[in-house]
């Protein structure tokens, strides 16, 4: 794409081609204004596609294999370790990293911080995709995935925390689809639908806060069912749901920093000025928010140890592992953020955010797999389980990129003024003929 942009190509970002004024057809929009041949050529040149292709070539057959022969052939999940990587990574890691949707929605729509608008949509998309793929992982893990709607319609186990998780993730997924659909309706040019969604924004945002508070916490509360299995340092009857909720706040924010940094690095051509010029400033802003959540999290983590009087465990091997998790995943990002914010060093802040994201992942894997059954034996997931988990993650990246290339997420959908639109229809459409954006386009958002 970068080389295409150098030759003067401009990706579709408006209703009609700015040179000729011809309206883009749906297929042209899908192909980013390229011909099929051009599109395929740039796809083949992209090294990420080769990596994903290789991963999918191994992973998809394994997924089919799993659905024909059962979980037993691809996982080490056992009667002692019922949950492996599919839930440990796919659900418990993906969900906190997807808290960005409700956090940025709250910041922008509810608290009126319009200055964060350039990254609002990527935060919403990050939320939607994270949740969607958590469900995909779940479907892969469930023994009878076709019965997933059962807790909604067939049998209600209302006293269960998982019931809450199920309902809230399902309703929140709906909320997030509606939130992101605004971008889709702009792209697909359905202004009425967009207006309809826009009217619901505040309602959707508040629904997002309610649902997120409850199910982010509920994922933590799930482990209160296993008091004798999760290591005491990771278990806290009173605080577990607060740990999960508070850590999802910086998890979601840091994930937006990480994802937007990747976009800036690899999809610069797709981002518009608002995104390009504001990103560094907003990254620092996100880091400020994350710092608050990190400090809160560290405080309650220590409070949790004090509350259950678990100091003695810190001297054990498990205590060292626990200390490492806190030092690496919480204190290191705090220090990096403090330095980065103070000296306006965005690179340091981005690095800190990456560490925090990895720290969250480590915490969730610890709670769900590593420190689970600490007094039994350690289980290392089956090689096929790793491959399937990575395949689904690759699918997540591919979907993410597919949407970012097209929908107005990091750029705004522009409108071509009537005069330019009416002007020329006989002109042959070419990529070289690009009019000055300042004269023909107007900000959409």
């Amino acid at each position: 794409m970068k080389s295409l942009v150098k030759t003067g190509y401009r990706p579709v970002d408006s209703v009609a081609d700015e040179g000729s004024g011809r309206r883009w057809s749906f297929l042209e929009k899908l192909l980013l204004g390229l011909t099929l041949r051009e599109y395929l050529r740039q796809a083949v040149r992209n090294p990420l596609n080769w990596i994903l292709g290789a991963l999918f070539a191994v992973g998809f057959p394994l997924i089919i294999y799993r659905f024909i022969f059962g979980l037993g052939v691809v996982t080490h999940s056992s009667n002692d370790y019922p949950w492996g990587l599919f839930l440990g990574f796919g659900l418990f890691v993906m969900v906190p990293l997807s808290a960005s949707g409700f956090l940025m929605g709250t910041t922008v729509e509810l608290f009126g911080r319009k200055d964060f608008k350039p990254i609002l949509r990527i935060a919403l998309l990050n939320g939607l995709l994270g949740y969607f793929f958590a469900v995909v992982y779940l479907l892969c893990d469930l023994g009878q995935p076709w019965r997933l709607p059962y807790p909604m319609v067939v049998a209600w186990g209302t006293a269960a925390v998982l019931f809450l998780v199920g309902w809230h993730v399902a309703t929140y997924l709906t909320v997030q689809i509606l939130e992101v659909s605004e971008a889709f309706f702009e792209w697909a040019q359905w202004p009425m639908a967009k207006q309809f969604i826009k009217k619901m924004t505040i309602g959707l945002t508040i629904a997002g806060i309610i649902l997120s508070t409850l199910h982010q916490g509920a994922l933590g509360a799930l482990f209160t069912y296993a008091p004798s299995k999760v290591h005491p340092l990771w278990y806290s009857q009173e605080f577990l749901w607060i740990f999960f909720f508070v850590s999802s706040i910086f998890g979601g924010l840091c994930m937006v920093i990480v994802v937007s940094s990747i976009v800036k690095k690899t999809m610069f051509w797709r981002a518009d000025e608002a995104f390009r010029e504001n990103l560094d400033r907003l990254t620092i802003g996100l880091a400020r928010g994350s710092s608050m959540a990190l400090i809160t999290y560290l405080t309650i983590k220590l409070l949790g140890i004090a509350h259950d009087n678990e100091w003695a465990y810190l001297a054990t091997g498990w205590g060292q592992w626990f200390s490492f998790e806190l030092l690496f995943g919480v204190i290191a990002p705090m220090v990096l953020f403090a330095y980065g914010i103070r000296n306006q060093r965005v690179g340091i802040v981005r690095f800190g955010a990456l560490i925090a994201v990895l720290g969250i992942a480590l915490n969730r894997l610890n709670t769900a797999i590593i420190a689970f059954n600490w007094n039994l034996y350690q289980e290392i997931p089956h090689i096929f389980e790793w491959i399937i988990a990575f395949t689904l993650f690759g699918l997540y990246i591919a979907t993410y990129r597919f949407i970012l290339y097209r929908l107005p997420i990091v750029y705004s959908w522009k409108k071509v003024p009537v005069e330019a639109y009416a002007k020329a229809t006989e002109k042959v459409h070419s990529h070289g003929a690009v009019a000055q954006p300042s004269t023909v386009s107007r900000e959409m958002r």
């Binding site: 209703v15 659905f67 024909i68 022969f69 059962g70 037993g72 996982t75 999940s77 009667n79 002692d80 019922p82 949950w83 509810l110 608290f111 009126g112 469930l142 023994g143 009878q144 995935p145 019965r147 997933l148 059962y150 807790p151 067939v154 049998a155 209600w156 186990g157 006293a159 269960a160 925390v161 998982l162 019931f163 199920g166 702009e186 040019q189 202004p191 207006q195 826009k198 505040i202 508040i206 806060i209 309610i210 508070t213 409850l214 916490g217 509920a218 509360a221 209160t224 069912y225 296993a226 008091p227 004798s228 299995k229 009857q237 039994l376 409108k415 107007r442 900000e443 959409m444 958002r445």
Partner: protein
């Protein structure tokens, strides 16, 4: 303007808070003070009488129509079986609902044996953690399972403090949870003891009303204090279980988890669950209030449609 907003904000918040409190008091979740089912049946397992003959395993296998085992039931070499790097003894699985293990814990070099199976908790964690109500605690005391609604999430296996529910991982199209169901369908329902109890030649297993069994157990301890450690395992563990154990050697030496809490497992999630009605009722008003304050009484919101009209396609 701002004064109006603040008043409005306060009133909606208060209404929300009131609704939250009301909901909380109306809905009692949790199990504090739960004492179980007065008429429930149970089994008293007296480990001091067990000789490790595995007759109970064979009886269970036949009654539940389970596949024949790899090693016959009269072969005692299974007691030497160790799994997972030599740390784990045999456990229940999809083809064995009860298992007897040998421990080198007995007095004067005598081995001790322990039979494991579902303990049929008074307030089962599997039941309360299941989001489709696949489990039922019957009035007779059995914890049974409905495979017709099970989604296969395996949360019950995470929740069971005794690690009993097993899963048929090998099945792709109808994997289910498998565990001892107290011979509910074939025996308990008709007032008969489970197959293992009837088959036991040593009278290790005593079937009866749970409340009577507690009396029997303490009577045995009283009459023969040297024979037993003075504890009835299952009387109070995780809210009490229908199957209870007497032992001559410390329980932790024969593989019991002696660190279990007295309260039912559900009690642990209670604090979180009681937040639910509060968040549901207070958050909307609270955050709508924040929104109105943050955007200066909706001024920000009002100016939005005007710009939208200009911007839209």
């Amino acid at each position: 303007m701002s004064k109006m907003t603040r008043r409005k904000f306060l009133s909606v918040s208060l209404a929300g808070a009131a609704a939250g409190t009301f909901t909380l008091s109306g809905k009692a979740i949790g199990a504090a003070g739960f004492t179980g089912y007065p008429d429930g049946m149970g089994v008293l397992v007296d480990l001091t009488r067990c000789i490790g003959c595995r007759t109970c395993e064979a009886a269970c296998n036949e009654e539940q129509k389970l596949p024949a085992p790899a090693v016959p039931f009269d072969d005692h070499s299974v007691f030497d079986e160790l799994h997972h790097g030599g740390t784990q003894k045999r456990r229940t699985d999809e083809n064995a609902f009860t298992v007897v293990n040998r421990y080198e814990a007995g007095k004067e070099g005598q081995p001790a044996y322990r039979k494991i199976q579902c303990n049929h908790c008074n307030e089962p964690a599997c039941l309360t953690s299941c989001f489709v109500n696949a489990y039922t605690k019957t009035k007779e005391g059995a914890v049974i399972y409905n495979s017709k609604v099970c989604v296969g999430c395996r949360n019950c296996m995470v929740a069971c403090p005794f690690r009993i529910p097993a899963y048929s991982y090998s099945s792709a199209f109808n994997p289910v949870i498998r565990k001892c169901i107290f011979c509910y369908d074939t025996r308990l329902k008709f007032g008969r003891p489970p197959a293992c109890v009837e088959a036991c030649p040593q009278e290790v297993l005593t079937f009866g009303h749970r409340k009577n069994l507690i009396k029997v157990a303490y009577e045995r301890i009283r009459v023969n204090p040297g024979r037993y450690v003075g504890h009835l395992y299952g009387e109070n563990e995780v809210g009490g279980t229908s199957w209870m154990y007497l032992s001559g050697v410390p329980f932790e030496e024969v593989g019991f988890d002696t660190t279990l809490q007295k309260e039912p497992i559900l009690a642990n999630a209670q604090a979180f669950l009681s937040n639910v009605p509060m968040v549901l009722s207070i958050w909307p008003a609270l955050f709508l209030g924040f929104h109105r304050l943050a955007t200066r009484g909706g001024e920000g919101a009002e100016e939005k449609p005007a710009t939208e009209k200009r911007e839209d396609i």
